[in-house]
Amino acid sequence: MSSVLLRPGVDAIAVKGWWSAHQWLLLRRITQVSVLGLFLAGPLFGIWIIKGNIASSLTLEVLPLSDPYLLSQSLFAGHWPETTIVIGALIIAAFYFLVGGRVYCGWVCPINPVTDLAAWIRQRFDIKGGARFPRQSRYWLLAMTFITASISGSLLWEMVNPVTIVYRGLIFGMGMVWLLLLAIFLFDLLLSPRGWCSHLCPMGAFYSLLARYTPLRVSASKREQCNDCMECYAVCPEPQVIPPALKGAEQGIGPVITGINCTNCGRCIDICSKHVFQFSTRFTHTSYQGAI
């Protein structure tokens, strides 16, 4: 079976065609590029729709959008913030609360394409082994970033946080950021499979916590059609969230993937040749077909 899993998606492409077997992936990449493009349009072409970077920004000169994780760090560091960033952070927190906390990871974060690429290469070239950190490590790291912010009285994690450093680098000047990207890529590729995003990143952990009651979720609504091809596990960055929804019918668990680590990336929807998954809300079992 592992030979099949070297190239997951063959069945899906055969059944649904290449485009629908990649629709969410493409949409995600388009979103990532567009968001970055909006930030870059200013410095590159003088079209100032969004100013700043993902830490905090101003859209069309009126709408502040700020990262709640950075604001939290700042609070832990002991700074009483201006209202602007509080409003911006509340808007962003509310948004991700609604669409799924880690939609940030899957649809916006600049590290995601890098770690996805590493995971893809691992799979394709059957690179095995490497250290596996417990998936809970990220929450300890999250706590660590807050505690060290308090001790140092500064946004200490922002000295190394690859997410904000890379994004800022892309917009304001890369400096040595390429090295950081390379480090993350090699870490995921050779040292620890899906090590960064799915096990360690405290930013991902923070957004996971926002997803506890997220309405928008993926649902294995046609789980009875599952033929156990295992391809969804192979492509999912957080495969531990799938079994309860996919295999929980006997235990009376609903088909909605409620695990907070799910990034709503939709890869499972794409890859499944049996049309098991679809976007849905956490409240419904009957489903609506995704927009595309």
Binding site: G42, W48, K51, G52, N53, A55, S56, S57, L58, P64, S66, D67, L70, L71, S74, A77, G78, H79, W80, P81, E82, T84, I85, G88, F133, P134, Q136, S137, W140, L141, A143, M144, T145, I147, T148, A149, I151, S152, G153, S154, L155, L156, W157, E158, M159, V160, T164, I165, R168, G169, I171, F172, G173, M174, G175, M176, V177, L180
Partner: protein
């Protein structure tokens, strides 16, 4: 203990050990970070924070490194530190020698800052204290050499307040004046226009962090002349005027005039014999 209980117990043990391991890992990383931060939090003396920036430790707690201040600076003065730069990564700064702060009236950088890292209390740019200019090289400053360069003085937005020219005697030529540029910390904003404009290949006047540019007087020091002014008069018993043993008709003026002949007499006060004068017997043979 029943078998099931034992299992639960073992499960709990394993869980606790795992959790402890993760916590330790995170703590180790945290400690590493804290030490690293000590060494790498940097603000070289030539890098100046934007106007209104909180004191450095508070600034590092407040600034989320968004670059909105940088974007709204009309003169491209501000830069966001890139990874690997000497300035704490992602934070805004400027190098006066490259592009100084133009001291915009509306202070757009402060207005743009969403966090308060640049203090909104700052509404008059003249109140900004980004640093303090110091004329650090008295050997090469042209005005110290007796020339009339004083570009720094001319470009200062607070000319005659932040920099004044103080005339001094030029001991080299003996007859000219030196016009010494003197920076006044009660007015200098640290904008860096002077450093930027200094015509020397390496500026003789530089904006430095205030604590580097400025000394501090001992807490118990009192300046006598200021105390005197405050008190409206001398606080110590006035000095008795010194009296000289002068020949009749002479007076000594302390303010600089020296020996003054009070009344004109046709006789010289001294005898014609110089020995008499030396022996203080000027009038003896009258």
């Amino acid at each position: 203990m029943s078998k099931a209980d034992k299992r639960v117990d073992q499960y709990r043990r394993r869980f606790l050990i795992r959790a402890a391991g993760q916590a330790c890992g995170a703590a180790l990383l945290g400690m590493g970070l804290l030490t690293l931060a000590r060494q790498t939090y940097g603000l070289p003396a030539t890098a100046i924070r934007p106007p209104g920036a909180l004191a450095e430790p508070d600034f590092l707690a407040a600034c989320v490194r968004c670059g909105l201040c940088v974007r709204d600076c009309p003169y491209n003065t501000l830069k966001l530190s890139e990874l690997g730069d000497k300035v704490t990564t992602g934070t805004p700064y400027f190098i006066a020698r490259n592009i100084p702060c133009e001291m915009c009236d509306d202070i757009p950088c402060v207005v743009a800052c969403p966090t308060g890292a640049l203090d909104k209390e700052l509404t008059n740019i003249d109140d900004a204290r980004m640093g303090l200019a110091a004329l650090v090289d008295e050997e090469n400053c042209l005005n110290f050499l007796g020339l009339r360069c004083e570009i720094c003085y001319r470009v200062c937005p607070l000319i005659n307040k932040a920099i004044t020219l103080e005339a001094q005697h030029n001991p080299r030529t003996g007859k000219h004046a030196l016009f010494i540029p003197v920076v006044h910390s009660d007015a200098c904003t640290g904008c860096g226009k002077c450093e930027h404009a200094c015509i020397l290949p390496e500026a003789a006047i530089k904006v430095l962090p205030t604590h580097l540019a400025k000394g501090a007087p001992g807490q118990h020091y009192r300046l006598g002349w200021e105390e005197k002014q405050k008190a409206g008069g001398s606080l110590v018993a006035p000095d008795k005027e010194h009296e000289y043993n002068l020949p009749e008709g002479f007076r000594y003026e302390h303010e600089g005039q020296g020996l003054i002949k009070e009344k004109e007499s046709d006789k010289t006060p001294f005898g014609s014999n110089p020995l008499d004068t030396l022996n203080q017997r000027g009038n003896s043979n009258e």
